[in-house]
């Protein structure tokens, strides 16, 4: 079980020059990732998704709050325990092109950590080779083709599979996929998503799925939770389908309205909203962070930051003073048929 409570992170601001404004990336985020569970995080660019993922993997520090790993605060772990524990949370990076060392063959990449594992568990050299083959096959690659090759000789989709296989070499119990398919060709995305789905089902891995693509989140974690992040704050959370079908927070509603509709196959949601104005992160409204962009904003929204409260349905929370359920996502066209 991975859990964060009140997680807050502020960046000093890029450029490092004096007089630069601090950037709050996460504000008091609470999140639970149960074993075998899936949590998807959506939000617009810069809302802190990557930061959250990296903190969970132990790759980034945080200012306050706590990160509990199987109930133990990560800050209380010894260095070796931390390393060992964080090893079991692996990050799948968005960019498959830079996630593999260009100077090393896939075999070298795969074997580096397998060897470590083998020596720790007193297993033979042959085991590492076998395991590498196994893992590559697991992600749908042909080991004999991939192993001797350098990353640049593989396609983006293949590389992302290698990245997943590499993450599996340390037998992780959780994966953090940060926009893992954003840079993969559309036709190949589903293949990768399928692997993640399969890993959850077959190996019981838990998955933190960071994405812009709600449908993809639904595909890999239909049974999981969906968190909506806005400017580092969780504004709405709950079971995926609950949030998709009955979003209550205006921000979530805008996000979901923004999903293109396959006109002809789908019918737009009846309450679909117009797109939001661009975010100006130079201004920080005193109350609700969305107040300056919110189509539903009222005077009291500027008074204080709304807390995350129950939205009625089981596990559905939102942070809005004036919530209103809307049906914004598209629904399948009943006549959907592929022949005329």
């Amino acid at each position: 079980m991975i859990e964060v409570r009140g997680l807050t992170k502020t960046f000093a601001g890029r450029g490092g020059l004096l007089g630069h404004r601090a950037v709050p990336a996460l504000r008091e985020v609470d999140l639970q990732l149960p074993p075998g569970g899936a949590v998807s995080v959506i939000g617009e660019s810069g809302c802190g998704k990557t930061t959250l993922g990296r903190i969970l993997c132990g790759l980034e520090s945080y200012d306050s709050g706590s990160l509990l790993l199987d109930g133990r605060d990560a800050k209380e772990l010894s260095i070796s325990e931390r390393r060992e524990r964080f090893q079991r949370i692996q990050l799948i990076h968005q960019d498959p092109y830079s996630a593999l060392n260009p100077t090393r063959t896939i075999r070298q990449t795969m074997l580096a950590s397998l060897r470590l594992r083998a020596s720790a568990t007193k297993r033979s050299q042959a085991w590492t080779e076998r395991r590498a083959n196994e893992l590559l096959e697991l992600v749908g690659l042909d080991p004999s083709y991939c192993l001797p090759r350098y990353p640049h000789m593989l396609s983006g989709g293949m590389r992302q599979r290698v990245v997943i296989a590499r993450a599996l070499t340390v037998d992780p119990d959780a994966l953090v996929a940060d926009e893992a398919v954003a840079m993969i060709d559309v036709s190949l995305r589903l293949g990768i998503l399928g692997i993640l789905r399969k890993l959850r089902a077959d190996l019981g891995l838990s998955l933190l799925f960071i994405t812009h693509d709600v449908a993809a989140a639904r595909y890999v974690g239909e049974d999981g939770q969906l968190y909506v992040l806005y400017r580092g704050q969780v504004v709405e959370q709950g079971p995926v389908d609950e949030i998709v079908q009955r979003p209550t927070h205006p921000y979530t509603q805008c996000l979901l309205s923004a999903i293109p509709v396959m006109r002809g196959l789908e019918r737009p949601g009846p309450d679909r909203l117009v797109p939001l104005r661009p975010l100006d992160d130079n201004v920080e409204p005193p109350g609700c962070l969305l107040a300056d962009r919110c189509p539903q904003a009222q005077d009291d929204c500027l008074l204080g930051r709304p807390p995350l409260v129950s939205a009625g349905a089981e596990g559905h929370l939102h942070a809005c003073l004036h919530p209103e359920a809307r049906s914004v996502v598209a629904t399948p066209e009943p006549t959907g048929s592929s022949t005329r």
Partner: protein, 357 residues
Amino acid sequence: MVSASPPIAEPQSTGRRADARKRRLIGVGRRLGARIVAALVMIWAVATLTFFLVHALPGNPVQVQYETLLSHGVPPAQALKETRIIYGFVSHEPVVNQYGSYLWQLLHLNLGQSISYSGVSVSHLVLAAAPWTVILVLSGLVVSFLLGVLAGAVAAVRRTSKLGDLLSISGSLLHGIPQFVMAVLLAYVFTTLLPVFPFGAPYDITVIPGWNLAYIGSLVSHAVLPVFAYALSSYGGWMLSMKSSVVSVLGDDFVLAAELRGLKPLTQLRYVARNALLPLFTVFALSIGFMFGGSIFIEDVFDYPGLGHLLLSSISARDYPLMSGTFLLITVAVILSNLLADLLYTFIDPRVRGQAS
């Protein structure tokens, strides 16, 4: 506060803009200040290095100077005073004091007195020599920069043609020739084989210095060879960097975008040129340093009376105050030119400037 409607009102955004501009200005100011402080620290470090260098010299010349004066029957107090005039410090004082008085003298731009040019202050000598080096370095730099950048741009644009190949090869070849070799070759060709250019003085003594054609012509004709020795030996570097810079800028999206928007070829060229030249400024800064260092060779071969020449003559005369003063000035020149280029860069590249906002 409560009444503020969610859409941001116009005056507020103007305020923000002004604020941003102010922040940017403050940023630039801070950056400038930081650079100047860094340069001062660097100068201090070099002064310290020079001080300890003189201390490390065999048979500590300061001590020797003091003893020599004593042996000439000069009373100790007087000897102390004269040694201090020459070096700015006296070596049998505690090191802290020596260092302190050395820095104190430096603060007053006092580099001590030359031994070989007795009675002449080092500051006087280096200041007299510095303009010649600056003339050489700057004109050499400008000539090589212009030639190299032009040739590099052409080589990049025409990189698949014969002309491009030719230019690239010329660049690589010239780049591989050390400055002193270039100087010797030029000297051989143009003072012996075809004696067209004079050398040995910065200008003909029979012309009267001033804003007259004869003087300027004489200055130019005497500087041609050393300047070209510089220019040719650094041309290759400029050419190659410019070529690779242009090639990389040509691959940038905005260049294609400019073409697709139908901008005039000249405008497109300006876009490419400015972007390609920008990274060369860092190289520019470093190369000024290089050239100050390299001026020794050129000045030696062509007997041009700049700082390098002075440094060499101070060394062969074992004129340690002059030597350390010249070395200090050469290094400070490098620091100052780096500072200048750095500041220039800040003003030229909005992205660097933008870091402040």
